[in-house]
């Protein structure tokens, strides 16, 4: 028997290094242990892609500023070879990149950090320009006037007036509204109606702040002058508060991106929410980016957002190891439940479970027909994959038509994994009967739900993303579990008859 001492030394070393790394990070960077005592920072990255034609290039991007609820604490541009300047024009703040000659596909980044700050020092300047006449045709004008009159009657001030107008625009039965929406989108229609009623307003470009989102685009919304401040309204949202916080990116609405010397331009936003201590929040303005910063927090935001999920996977693995070695739960595919849990994070739990059962259930029925066709394995699995894709599309469309927007998220399921699950369960069904399928399917689902609960736990999320050292402790835990030679919980029941005699 080999000595176990080196093994335990290695495990202890892992734990010590992990703890030390976490403590250092806690002390030097003021990262709190629990997510509660933090200030929230949004890192937002605009990624501009275009194809340069070989001449001089000038790209000008609208840049956000401190506004109600958010303080701009840091901004930077990353663009090799380009000259960068920040311009405060009449049309709002812009950032300009220039280069004498560029050819081929170009990617430039603009990154800004906003501190969530209820006391943001915002610019509440009253509207300067006169309200421009609305550009409605005579037919539209009549419809617009009737909408404005009705909304005016039902409201007390500019805010409630705007809310009434939004309700009217979103009323699918209103003929006046549909007439207006025939040629205009909802934002344009709302802006035209506000101009018609001589309420000061402006169209702004807004991004929705959702942690870990990638490839977001700017949405158009309307800001309305309430008499002392500007207030933001979404022309599609009648409920009032929006699901995610909103940040005004482009205050002027001249254009999001002006590009000379290039084509095929595209602007996409990625964002991530980070917890920093109050001290760090105030210092962060002054702190320049360290050159030798090797933590994952120095990566581009798109990759960081990805790591936020990746860093949770070891926790999922730990749970799977625990359930298999200590409990003895049977699952279909060792780490399939972790992947299903990752999908649950996107879909939410109930929708996820319903979706999973629907896909696998329907898949099993169709697979039972395929098994009669006498196909070869690879062809059969491919057929199952296509079936799964068809099932997902049908469910998505049906869910959308009957108004279940939750149903749309069903597409987040890993299709290849689901196909293998269906194939394996179907074979299991043929060989060992439905009971074993229920047992393994149930085991997988229970594991997936437990992993989901851990992955969405905000304390665990905070710890795994902010303290990389904890990964080593998880690793040490898995190593120790790997040497457990005692009975599994399910074996107690299995071997119970042996105790009796």
């Amino acid at each position: 028997m080999t000595s176990k001492v080196p093994f335990y030394i290695a495990v202890a070393t892992l734990v010590i290094i992990g703890l030390a790394m976490s403590i250092i990070r806690h002390q030097t960077y003021n990262v709190p242990w629990v997510p509660g005592e933090t200030r929230q920072i949004w890192d937002i990255e605009a990624r501009i892609e275009f194809t340069a034609r070989g001449d001089a290039v000038r790209a000008s991007l609208a840049a956000p500023n401190t506004q109600s609820g958010y303080t701009l604490i840091n901004e930077s541009a990353s663009s090799p070879g380009y000259g960068v300047s920040y311009v405060d024009a009449d049309a709002g703040r812009r950032i300009e990149w220039t280069i004498r000659q560029a050819n081929g596909p170009q990617t430039i980044y603009y990154r800004s950090q906003f501190l969530v700050d209820p006391n943001a020092n915002r610019d509440a300047a009253p509207p300067k320009q006169a309200i421009p006449p609305s550009n409605l045709s005579s037919l539209e004008l009549a419809a617009g006037e009737s909408l404005v009159a009705l909304a005016h009657q039902r409201s007390a001030n500019n805010q409630s007036f705007t809310r009434e107008l939004i309700k009217a625009i979103n009323d699918p039965e209103s003929q006046n509204a549909s007439l207006l929406l025939h040629a205009k989108n909802k934002t344009e229609a709302l802006y035209a109606l506000l101009s018609l009623a001589e309420v000061p307003s402006r169209v702004v470009g807004v991004i929705e702040l959702e942690d870990g989102r990638r490839r977001q685009t700017v949405q158009q919304m309307v800001e309305v002058w309430t008499g002392e401040d500007w207030q933001l309204f979404s022309p599609t949202n009648t409920a009032g508060a929006s699901e995610h916080p909103l940040l005004i990116w482009d205050q002027s609405n001249v254009s999001l991106l002006d590009l000379m010397g290039g084509s095929n331009s595209r602007v996409a936003f990625s964002m991530i929410s980070r917890a920093i201590s109050a001290v760090e929040a105030t210092e962060s303005k002054m702190e320049a980016d360290g050159l030798l910063n090797f933590s994952i927090h120095s990566l581009p935001l798109e990759e960081q957002a990805m790591f936020k999920t990746i860093m949770m996977i070891p926790i999922g693995a730990l749970i799977v190891v625990f359930l298999r070695i200590l409990v003895g739960l049977k699952t279909s595919g060792t780490f399939m439940p972790v992947l299903i849990a990752v999908a649950f994070v996107q879909t939410q739990l109930i929708t996820g479970i319903v979706g999973f059962l629907l896909i696998v259930g329907t898949g099993l029925i169709i697979r039972s027909y395929l098994s009669r066709l006498n196909l070869l394995l690879v062809a059969r699995i491919s057929a199952v994959i296509i079936t799964v894709i068809l099932i997902i599309s049908v469910f998505t469309v049906v869910a959308f038509k009957i108004g279940l927007t939750e149903g749309l998220s069903i597409t987040f399921f890993p299709m290849i994994i689901l196909s293998w699950t269906i194939e394996r369960m179907s074979i299991l069904w043929e060989e060992e009967g439905g009971k074993e399928v229920m047992l393994q399917g149930g085991g997988s689902l229970i594991t997936a739900v437990l992993v989901y609960l851990a992955m969405t736990n905000q304390y665990l999320q905070h710890l795994t993303f902010n303290f990389i050292g904890l990964q080593l402790i998880v690793l040490a835990g898995i190593l120790v579990l790997g040497t457990y030679t005692g009975y599994r919980l399910t074996e107690l029941r299995r071997f119970k008859p042996l105790v009796r005699d």
Binding site: M1, I325, G328, N374, L376, L377, V378, I427, E431, E432, T483, Y484, T485, G486, Y487, R488, E491, L492, R494, F495, K496, P497, L498, V499, D501
Partner: protein, 329 residues
């Protein structure tokens, strides 16, 4: 409620005192330590097992042929022309999966042990499933082995329902330490897997006589389908069987394995397959744990000349005798 919880909490220590081997300990302390991974292919591939078994002079079921690719699937009908009964099995199958037993045929309709018949197309489909790796570990492509049907010894009549009663012996470092017979039932659909409902009859290492019988992990005394008293089971040629099992150590070099054997009417004991990860149900069938016996073998001093299979069988028959534990109340 509380007393029930205390009872449950006591189970681990009770199991430990009985020496019951758990899955984690089996993997960690025996399979991981005594089984060299490089030797797994020898037992995971039944074709290789057959070849080394024959090389060492052990009898195995006669081979009718091997079907290696899809193009050869249709040759099956011609291949079995002169064999009244045959068995098709995947070379790398696990847990008895994918074994098709045909007891009678006229090259068009094939009769299974249950009396049901299948047609030629179904048999071809089964072979192409085997080839595509449906039954093999990890879904690897496989070959199908066609073997002569085993005509099992008459002395087992009534102990099994529609299937071959096979004898599983756990061999540790060449010592046969525990044995059981697996009798198929109607519930197990002719298969010899305990978790599918086959009856496991623990066998006394010293005599080959039944010690205890279980189905679905519960003790029983009579075969559920045939009603035969299981306590009367006594395996003939027991010593020869033990020596055959024990010689598997010389064949494979695997320290902890399960040997599956049958008694053929004319050819006597035969090796069906070897298993590098034998299950733990044998403990339930015998009503005793494996650990005391495993530890006893582990403690044996290794002489310069390793004991021959005969010597090892002598040792085990002497040390691991067990009295029957049938309870007719």
């Amino acid at each position: 409620m509380l007393s029930a919880l205390i009872d449950i909490a006591k189970i681990p220590s009770q199991l430990r005192s009985k020496g019951v081997l758990g899955m984690n300990q089996r993997n960690h302390a025996f399979i991981g330590r005594y089984n060299d991974r490089a030797k797994y292919p020898l037992v995971d591939d039944k074709l290789k097992t057959k070849i080394i078994a024959q090389k060492h002079g052990a009898t195995t079921p006669e081979m009718i042929g091997v079907i290696r690719n899809q193009a050869e699937v249709k040759t099956i009908h011609n291949m079995v022309k002169n064999w009244p009964g045959f068995v098709i099995k995947p070379a790398q199958g696990s847990g008895g999966k994918g074994i098709l037993v045909i007891v009678e045929h006229d090259q068009k309709s094939y009769k299974k042990p249950s009396g049901a018949t299948t047609n030629a197309q179904e048999v071809e489909r089964h072979i192409s499933n085997v080839l595509s790796g449906l039954f093999s570990l990890g879904g690897k492509t496989d070959v199908a082995i066609v073997e002569n049907l085993i005509r099992f010894d008459d002395c087992f009549d009534g102990f099994t329902y529609e299937g071959v009663p096979d004898i599983r012996i756990i061999v540790f470092k060449g010592y046969p330490i525990m044995a059981m017979m697996r009798c198929s039932t109607a519930a197990s659909d002719g298969k010899a897997n305990l978790h599918q409902g086959a009856v496991g009859v623990g066998l006394d290492i010293a005599s080959g006589k039944a010690v205890r019988a279980v189905q679905f992990e519960q003790p029983l005394t009579h075969h559920p389908d045939t009603g035969v008293d299981l306590a009367t089971l006594a395996v003939p040629e027991w010593r020869k069987l033990l020596e055959l099992a024990s010689s598997a150590w010389e064949m494979t070099g695997l320290g902890y394995m399960g040997t599956d054997m049958v008694l053929d009417k004319t050819k006597g004991p035969m090796v069906l397959e070897l298993n590098a990860r034998p299950g733990l149900s044998i403990q339930i069938a015998n009503g005793s744990g494996l650990i005391p016996r495993l530890r006893q073998i582990e403690r044996l001093e290794e002489p310069v000349r390793y004991p021959t299979p005969e010597q090892r069988v002598d040792y085990c028959m002497e040390n691991f005798a067990t009295a029957p534990k049938f309870n007719y109340l």
